[in-house]
């Protein structure tokens, strides 16, 4: 702390702020539209008409991505699918602020509860506030297999349901951890062929927790996904990253159960913690492609086509290049403005197309918005409904 010279880099910090500004200018021109000020007059909730059969897919990046590498002009080459295919169809929120703890599990749990959770990021504990999965299942009396989470393995196995007594037990989402499945499926096989898919926990590169491989996971593969172990192993060999495995599993769930609420957390880009910028960029490229693949799946699966709303958002950003005490893209430890500010894209059924919202919104606003679309109350969520997305 004593060695920081923050005041000497104020000019440099302004560079970072101008990047955010240029992103907004680009998006407005790309979408050929006005900004939020022109849209605040709408009162769309009553008309949102999320009737039974509608689906919600939420994709979060548990890696954090910055403006410079995504929607800033110099970053757009890393996300061609998001920019050219998905953005024009979406309502885009350019300033989504996360005011909570910037660790991936606790931040994702906060996104799912609509309240800033405060537990230890590395502890395998349940969120303290009810999740959107519990609001959904309790509110609409939905069965367990109608809400799923596909997530990286470290800690996320508890994200499906809270420890709130009024909700919690028996009302959460089914959680599937692809790396656990793969670990179980490959115990008898040549593990070296699959190690690139078992990569885990970039936040602490030292730490590689032992993955469980049990009968439970084997049963999940055969009974839930309805694919043989041999088929699962063979397909895994064609994949190049853990996130590709997650999307493969998500697509299997879409075919098998067609859940109304599907939440997928991608994690490849968090390799940034290793300090290799090229690998971080590679992770963003892959995430961009996987988002497009998921959108394509949503459009082509009969159970999802024309009745699905999809949300895409990083859980938060990463440190600015110019913040003293950080090391730029590598971490998200300073709590600076760029590490707290990110974006969100909503597209599909019931969503206004080609809208850019410039006003700052809170990452907690996701849950009340999902609740409005699902027509369930979210009484303990702290965020506010994002009215701008709704197509009336």
């Amino acid at each position: 702390m004593l060695r920081s010279k923050a005041f000497e880099v104020d000019d440099l910090r302004q560079v970072g702020e101008s990047i955010a500004q240029s992103r907004r200018e680009f998006l407005c021109s790309a979408l050929k539209m006005g900004t939020a000020a022109a849209m605040l007059g709408f009162s769309p909730l009553r008309a949102s008409a999320f009737h039974p059969g509608r689906k919600i897919v939420v994709v979060t990046f548990g890696g954090g991505a910055r403006d410079e590498e995504t929607f800033a002009p110099e970053g757009q080459r890393n996300i061609p699918n998001l920019v050219t295919t998905l953005l024009p169809q979406s309502t885009f929120f350019g300033r989504v602020v996360n005011r909570g703890i910037l660790g991936h599990y606790v931040a994702t749990a906060s996104l799912a509860t609509g309240s800033y959770e405060t537990f230890d990021n590395f502890a395998a504990v349940a969120p303290h506030n009810p999740t959107i999965f519990e609001y959904f299942r309790k509110g609409l009396n939905r069965p367990a297999y109608d809400a799923w989470v596909v997530a990286p393995s470290n800690g996320f196995n508890r994200i499906g349901q809270s420890d709130n007594r009024s909700f919690g037990a028996g009302l959460g989402a089914e959680v599937i951890l692809p790396k656990h499945l793969l670990n179980a499926a490959t115990l008898a096989a040549n593990r070296n062929d699959y190690k690139h898919l078992l990569r885990d926990n970039y936040e602490e590169p030292y730490y590689t927790p032992q993955l469980a491989g049990s009968e439970v996971e084997l049963q999940q593969i055969e009974n839930i996904l309805r694919i043989s172990l041999a088929e699962f192993r063979a397909h895994a060999l064609t994949l190049s990253s853990p996130d590709e495995l997650s999307v493969y599993i998500a697509r299997q769930l879409m075919k098998r159960f067609a859940p109304s609420l599907l939440w997928i957390t991608l994690h490849d880009m968090d390799v940034a913690h290793s300090g290799a910028y090229s690998l971080y960029i590679e992770g963003i490229h892959r995430t961009d492609k996987l988002c497009a693949d998921l959108w394509k799946a949503v459009q082509t699966e009969p159970e999802y086509a024309n009745k699905t709303t999809m949300f895409i958002l990083p859980d938060f950003g990463r440190d600015s290049d110019f913040t003293a005490g950080g090391n730029g893209f590598q971490h998200h430890r300073t709590g600076d403005a760029l590490s707290r500010t990110t974006w969100m894209m909503a597209l599909g059924a019931g969503v206004r197309e080609g809208a850019f919202i410039d006003r700052p919104v809170d990452s907690l606003d996701l849950v009340p918005t999902l609740g409005a679309l699902l027509r369930v109350p979210t009484p303990l969520a702290r965020g506010r409904l994002l009215r701008e997305i709704l197509n009336t």
Binding site: M1, A6, Y116, R199, E203, E282
Partner: protein, 400 residues
């Protein structure tokens, strides 16, 4: 214990110089709010193993606080006094284990939404202290040269885009002996000021055959035994199976140079610095490009040298994290294109970190790609956002 209860005996476990400094400023320490006292002791407790510039950064704020009237001191510290810690945090041994205390406190500040307030108060305090007692400017204008070395290449890549607006871009640099020219320039500067820790050469591969007794030389190749010993220690802790990432980090941070085979005859300040690259950096144990960037960052942040030469070499290809940590022979597979992107960003970060130091308005910075034969030069005599015509040598660049 509260800071006001501090006594000389509390510092009995501190190393000699640190203990003396704590006693010299005991009355100041007694008046500090706990979050600030622990932050200062975290650095002060390592005083014996810090670089001269770091020692100044500990002594100077203490002297600043001592010089203030009571009213002004209270005003300077008011923000820190508003930070509320739990009894559980406050009761930890923040005098003898300030690092572990700060880890707990940081987590607590995040969870209670006080982290931003703490950071803001820290920034205000820094501004107050440093505007009153500015750090001395370097006797020699700082010079930093980053080399994207042999083999670090890719097709169709535009280099130094983030640096170009700040200086002269040189698209044609033809100099087969450029590295030697750089080392000669380093020797020249050493001859002008042959002082400890003032000149550094960091190599992300095998260092060039060059030796100067007054230059700190650190390389990926020469630190291989330290790296391997650190990785082995990490594996041992992981295989014990009872430690999460935070405990692992804490245990690794306790590693001493003697634990992993450093000679007792080696300069302990430097030995601890080298060890910290692997125990405190993320990815430095695995990727040579991260090692080079992080080591340069830490050298600038901590030692604040007047001369720094950093050379990036190719890094190993990405493999699964457990394979990398197991450090098998597969590390010989290299990724030249990925290394180029890493090094390009690393050169930008090195410039930023040089800019954080005193005398930045007079500092020179050069980044040069040996393979792509391009360079960028930044300094008071380098017009911003310009491009040179014609072929240049490294000597030409140094003379701008």
């Amino acid at each position: 214990m509260k800071p006001v209860d501090l006594r000389a005996a509390n510092f009995s476990k501190y190393p000699k110089l640190a203990q003396a400094l704590a006693l010299q400023y005991l009355s100041v320490l007694q008046q500090l709010p706990l979050p600030l006292a622990a932050s200062i002791l975290n650095e002060l407790s390592n005083y014996d193993w810090l670089f001269p510039a770091e020692r100044w950064s500990i002594e100077s704020p203490l002297a600043f606080l001592q010089s203030l009237s009571e009213d002004k001191r209270d005003a300077a510290l008011a923000g820190f006094r508003r930070i509320v810690l739990s009894n559980q945090i406050s009761s930890q041994d923040w005098v003898n284990q300030p690092g572990e205390f700060l880890e707990s406190m940081t987590a607590y500040l995040w969870s209670t939404h006080q982290f931003d307030s703490f950071s803001s108060n820290a920034r205000k305090f820094l501004e107050m202290w440093q505007s009153t007692r500015p750090e001395p400017k370097p006797a020699l204008p700082r010079l930093c040269i980053v080399v994207l070395g042999e083999g670090v290449r890719a097709d169709g890549v535009s280099l130094f885009n983030k640096l170009r607006p700040h200086g002269i871009f040189c698209p044609q640099v033809d100099d087969p002996h450029g590295m030697q020219t750089i080392l000669n320039a380093l020797s020249e500067r050493i001859s002008q000021r042959p002082f400890p820790y003032e000149h550094w050469y960091i190599d992300g591969g095998t260092p060039a055959p060059w030796d100067e007794p007054h230059c700190i030389r650190i390389s990926w190749a020469s630190l291989e035994p330290v790296r391997n010993a650190t990785l082995k220690r990490i594996q041992e802790i992981i295989h014990r199976g009872n430690s999460g990432p935070e405990q692992l980090r804490t245990e690794i941070a306790k590693t001493r140079p003697s634990d992993i085979g450093f000679s007792s005859e080696k300069d302990e300040v430097l030995a601890r610095f080298e060890l910290s690259i692997f125990t405190q950096g993320s990815g430095t144990q695995i990727f040579s490009t991260t090692f080079a960037q992080w080591t340069a960052r830490e050298a600038l942040r901590r030692a604040r040298p007047s001369t720094l030469v950093v050379r990036f070499a190719t890094r190993q290809r990405q493999l699964s994290m457990d394979e990398l940590l197991a450090n098998k022979e597969i590390h010989k597979l290299q990724d030249p294109a990925g290394s180029l992107l890493d090094a390009d960003m690393g050169s930008f970060y090195t410039w930023i970190n040089q800019q954080r130091l005193t005398g930045s308005d007079q500092a020179r910075f050069i980044a040069w790609s040996q393979e792509h034969r391009q360079a960028v030069s930044i300094g008071p005599s380098c017009p911003k956002g310009t491009t040179t015509k014609g072929i240049m040598s490294i000597a030409d660049l140094l003379e701008i």
